[in-house]
């Protein structure tokens, strides 16, 4: 899970896998994904409990829906 200077740089990286091409996104898009409440709520004193609430579950479901998977990749 790395940052690169550009899309071309990422594709030239030795660890690049075209099967996960869907995971190549502008940093602003990743920053948006990592703005999910699952990340925003980490500072609360009851964070682990919160992840198990309805609100926490909904946040996790929403997060999962935005995470790229190999099946969605550009093969």
């Amino acid at each position: 899970m790395n940052l690169f200077r550009s899309e071309e740089h990422a594709k030239r990286w030795s660890g690049y896998d075209a099967a996960m091409g869907a995971a190549l996104k502008p940093v602003a898009e990743w920053a948006d994904i990592f703005s999910n409440p699952f990340f925003r709520q980490r500072g609360r004193p009851d964070y682990i409990s919160w992840t198990r609430t309805e609100e926490g579950g909904a946040a996790f479901k929403e997060l999962r829906s935005h995470l790229p998977r190999p099946a969605e990749a550009d093969l």
């Binding site: 899970m1 790395n2 940052l3 690169f4 200077r5 550009s6 899309e7 740089h9 990422a10 030239r12 990286w13 660890g15 690049y16 896998d17 996960m20 995971a23 190549l24 996104k25 502008p26 940093v27 602003a28 898009e29 990743w30 920053a31 994904i33 990592f34 703005s35 990340f39 925003r40 709520q41 980490r42 500072g43 609360r44 004193p45 009851d46 964070y47 682990i48 409990s49 992840t51 198990r52 995470l67 790229p68 998977r69 190999p70």
Partner: protein, 154 residues
Amino acid sequence: MTELELLDRGYSAIMAEVVDGARAPHFTELAADLDIELDTARELVHELVGMTPGWVHPGTDLLASFPPFNMQPTQYHITIDGQGGWYAQCGLEATAIRWLVPGKTVRIEAPCLCCGESMVLEMCDEDIVSVDPEPMVGYTSAEIGGAADSRPFR
């Protein structure tokens, strides 16, 4: 299985120490902080890293990663309001550090793995303050939150 209230206290105590001082407590320190037995604290650390998901150094009880931070240095150098000393678990988690330090500017500085040239990303709360170079991208070759034994290597 640790009770939920203790998981909350353990998570919060570890995160607070990492945010304040850029280091994670040893389980013996956590035991003193939470007023619990040493074995309970040791088990608590392992249980929490499985949930977060972070990891301990293999074969030890030493916290190596507690997202969004990494205790073991990575290429993602973090500066918070001008003060350095932190490392991000990965480039993507680095973008989530701002939620733990509201109102402060988080600077992420890292070399590109392709060419070694520097990249800098600055964020504060909802805002991306600066991106250099502008076309910066994020990429992962594995599913986020995937198998525990691969976490340090993707």
